[in-house]
Amino acid sequence: MTTGDTEGAGAADTAAPAPFASVDPTLYTFGPEGEVIIPGSQSDETGDRFWPPRLRCPRTGGTVTDVDLATTGTVWSWTFVHAPWPGLVSPNGTDEGYTAGLVDLADGPRVIGVLIGDREAIAVGTPVRAVPLPFRELADQQGAILAFETTGIAS
């Protein structure tokens, strides 16, 4: 399968300003270089991190501080969904379906995302990094969704 869509869209050296708008801005956003920002909360008392941001620490009820979470992690699990991709640009370039995943970020929180990259490499434990995936038009900007691209094979 091709990852051309994402590689082109996610390239940080294109110098295009703010290339993507988030489809779900409370869950993830994109920086001026197209870099993924995963907002979260850190418990001031325990140091635990949570996604998406919470008003208070779900463990203690104490205060939290806004943080940007790690954008690398490993696949906790995945599945291939045999249904047409709901966005405009399929991650596979076809309507056969797409891979969904749960990813454990390097700093703790488990997040949901679409998995792209070599489908054969996707497995429990595969290392991944967050990338934008073009999804649909939002007003006059290209909307993108949170995806994770494989960066290796499961150890």
Partner: protein, 382 residues
């Protein structure tokens, strides 16, 4: 519970059919439960309406046709666990001594309101639309396969069992004309690996009801086969590493373990004494994981129970005897009450072709997104 509580009557409509309106199904199943209890609606002192999907006031409007007796009518919502939540409130209304007779009525029609496990509404066309309940449960399955070597054939065997149990349940949504084989389950359309269409619950509309009464009512009526509620437990999530806060199914299977153990303690029994079991088996992987979480076997041993027949109708611990979510269906609001319906019929020996041999205790487990878990244990009269 402060005093004895019994299920005196149950009733339900066929899920997904016949072609009645949802309101007709509600009245039909409610009146069936009253007739089963041998009581008129004028004896009901509180009514709990379980609906996860219908608009506000829909239920209280329909139930005027039971009779405008002036009793408290309360709507309960707790996602997929809504019907169990309504039953739980009825049980505790009687247990606490506030009323002698309470009624729980669950109802929903996902198609009428355009929602479902696999639907994507315009509002959900984002990350949460791309990664829905079907996706989450399939990821549980893939993780299990990686950790324990569970095979897709094992999941298919669970689903085939439930389809075939549903063949003996006239109220099941799925009514297969011939026995369903593992091969047929595997050959059906792949939804999200490893779950095929026949490993997933259908979501037609329906209604189900239960009449809950005190021991005094049972004795005054001279009823000899009323089923006693020996445990009614509700739990919600606890924090664990890897805890999910966003997504369609955020609750860990661990809730099943905690809810079941609280119920065992209340009932004074253990998992070995369960003779009929109902789970939230919307996807086949759930039934497998819950075997272990409620203690029917040790961690990683669930696959063996599938293959040695332990959870079949003739086994030691029959599971999803009415077809479960996969065979009977899962409208949402009535689902938990359909589980109570099945346990009650089994424990009274009225389950026909799917009757298990001389059951004494039945357990109903159901989760709701958000996330909550209800566990009830019912006991046969002896």
């Amino acid at each position: 519970m402060n005093r004895d509580v019994y299920v005196l009557g149950v009733g339900m409509s066929r899920f997904g059919g016949p072609p009645q309106t949802l309101a007709q199904k509600m009245i039909t199943s409610g009146r069936a439960a009253l007739a089963d209890a041998g009581l008129g609606y004028d004896r009901v002192e509180s009514l709990y309406l379980g609906s996860a999907l219908m608009p506000p006031t829909f239920g209280v409007d329909v139930v005027k046709d039971f009779g405008l007796t002036g009793i408290p009518v309360v709507r309960i919502e707790n996602a997929s666990a809504t019907g169990a939540a309504a039953f739980f409130e009825a049980v505790h209304a009687v247990a606490g001594g506030r009323v002698e007779v309470s009624m729980a009525l669950g109802f929903d029609d996902p198609k009428a309101v355009g929602v479902g496990f696999n639907n994507r509404s315009a509002e959900s066309r984002g990350l949460l639309g791309a990664v829905g309940p079907m996706t989450f449960f399939s990821m549980w399955a893939v993780r299990r396969m990686a950790e324990r070597g569970t095979t897709i054939e094992t999941l298919a065997k669970i689903a085939a069992k439930n389809w075939n149990n549903a063949r003996h349940n006239p109220f099941a949504e799925r009514q297969a004309p011939e026995p369903v084989t593992v091969e047929q389950v595997l050959a059906s359309r792949m939804l999200a690996y490893p779950h095929t269409a026949r490993m997933a619950a259908p979501q037609g509309g329906g209604a189900a009801a239960a009449i809950v009464v005190s021991g005094d009512v049972v004795r005054s009526l001279g009823v000899s086969d009323a089923v006693r509620v020996v445990a009614a437990q509700a739990v919600s999530e606890r924090y664990d590493p890897g805890h999910l806060f966003k997504g369609a199914i955020v609750g860990p299977p661990e809730m099943a373990r905690r809810g079941a153990h609280a119920a065992y303690e209340e009932a004074g029994i253990g998992p070995d004494e369960l003779n009929v079991i109902a789970f939230h088996d919307a996807y086949a992987i759930e039934e497998l994981l819950y075997y272990e979480e409620i203690g029917l076997c040790g961690p990683g041993e669930g696959d063996r129970l599938v293959h040695d027949g332990t959870t079949e109708l003739t086994g030691k611990h029959p599971v999803s005897t009415d077809g479960g979510f996969i065979g009977r269906g899962h409208p949402a609001g009535p689902t938990g009450l359909a589980q109570i319906w099945e346990l009650t019929e089994q424990l009274r020996g009225r389950a026909g072709g799917r009757q298990v041999a001389d059951p004494r205790h039945g357990l109903a487990h159901i989760i709701g997104a958000g996330s909550v878990c209800y566990t009830h244990i019912l006991e046969a009269a002896r």
